[in-house]
Subunit: 152 residues, 2 copies
DNA sequence: CACATAACCCAGCAATTTAGTCAAGTATTA
DNA sequence: TAATACTTGACTAAATTGCTGGGTTATGTG
């Protein structure tokens, strides 16, 4: 479980998709403008998101991406893991790399903590994040201030 | 809050220090051998850990590093933040970079989640990790989940 | 059909981070 | 004084990040 800016970009883009995808597919160009992420980087991210079954693509005019499942069935951890996809193997994969006892011990300690974090992120869905935001900010202005950004 | 291998190295080293530091300072050379981390990389990490007040250095023969506080007063989040020390400011620091509304919205959503993770890691101390390991080694299946589910 | 739209794919590139080596210090203790 | 051990800095190879720019395919619409 790695938590870097790459994962944040992916979650941000998925949230944008969730918030604007009610009336059909959303093009990456739109997300690029709104979230200020380069189009090509979005293409890389969504290529992985699509291969991991998190989004569905629609080609041609009026096409774009849609969230593949219902929002409460998409966990944040899935999004982050999808774009990282290093699978890590965490060096000592429990096999022969554990030479000293101390190595195994602290390794297990970290693995336990890492599992906790992943479990936490598995319990948070896109819908959760949106709902929580709605509760916090009761009065949101949804006016679209479509400012032209450099990625247009 | 960034969660990478660098932070894992730091936490691993601090755990090694906690487990072997009862009888005085522990040299980086020892940790290097036990945890299979290069000595120079440990030096970089501990330089930051020391500057952030997490460890105390003892020079001269028989010297090394000691954990600066009691183990239950050292949070995992502090260790990770100490070696990252980018402070990030997350681009749009709530000031003038937030041009469009969509950017602010999803940004806040991510910030909220990030705060949750940091809050969780702040609640876990070195002592907690060691205690938890002892409980698990007593062949007790983890029935109690440490993670609080804020969205549930 | 022609065309615009948008997903898809790929090669490469600058900047940053990671993890490490090497060398030259400085403080402390035996 | 000599040995130990931390401290500091310069430097580097590898990987990752985020982006530019070129194409190709599929698919709606005039």
């Amino acid at each position: 479980m790695k938590l870097t800016t790459k994962g944040r970009y992916a979650v941000t883009a998925m949230l944008d998709l969730a918030l604007h995808g009610e009336s059909g597919p959303v093009s990456l160009a739109e997300i690029s403008v709104r979230q200020e992420i380069s189009l090509s980087y979005l293409e890389q991210l969504f290529s992985k998101l699509r291969r991991n079954g998190l989004v569905i693509s629609t080609r041609g005019p009026g096409g774009g991406y849609s969230v593949a499942r219902e929002l409460h069935q998409v966990a944040v951890s899935e999004i982050i893991c999808a774009v990282n996809e290093s699978v890590d193997a965490t060096q000592c994969g429990g096999k022969e790399n554990c030479h000293s006892h101390g190595r195994c011990l602290t390794h297990d300690l970290w693995e336990g903590l890492s599992a906790q974090i992943e479990e936490f992120l598995s319990s948070v869905s896109l819908q959760d994040m949106i709902d929580r935001q709605r509760v916090q900010n009761a009065s949101l202005r949804q006016d679209k201030v479509m400012v032209q950004r450099p990625y247009a």
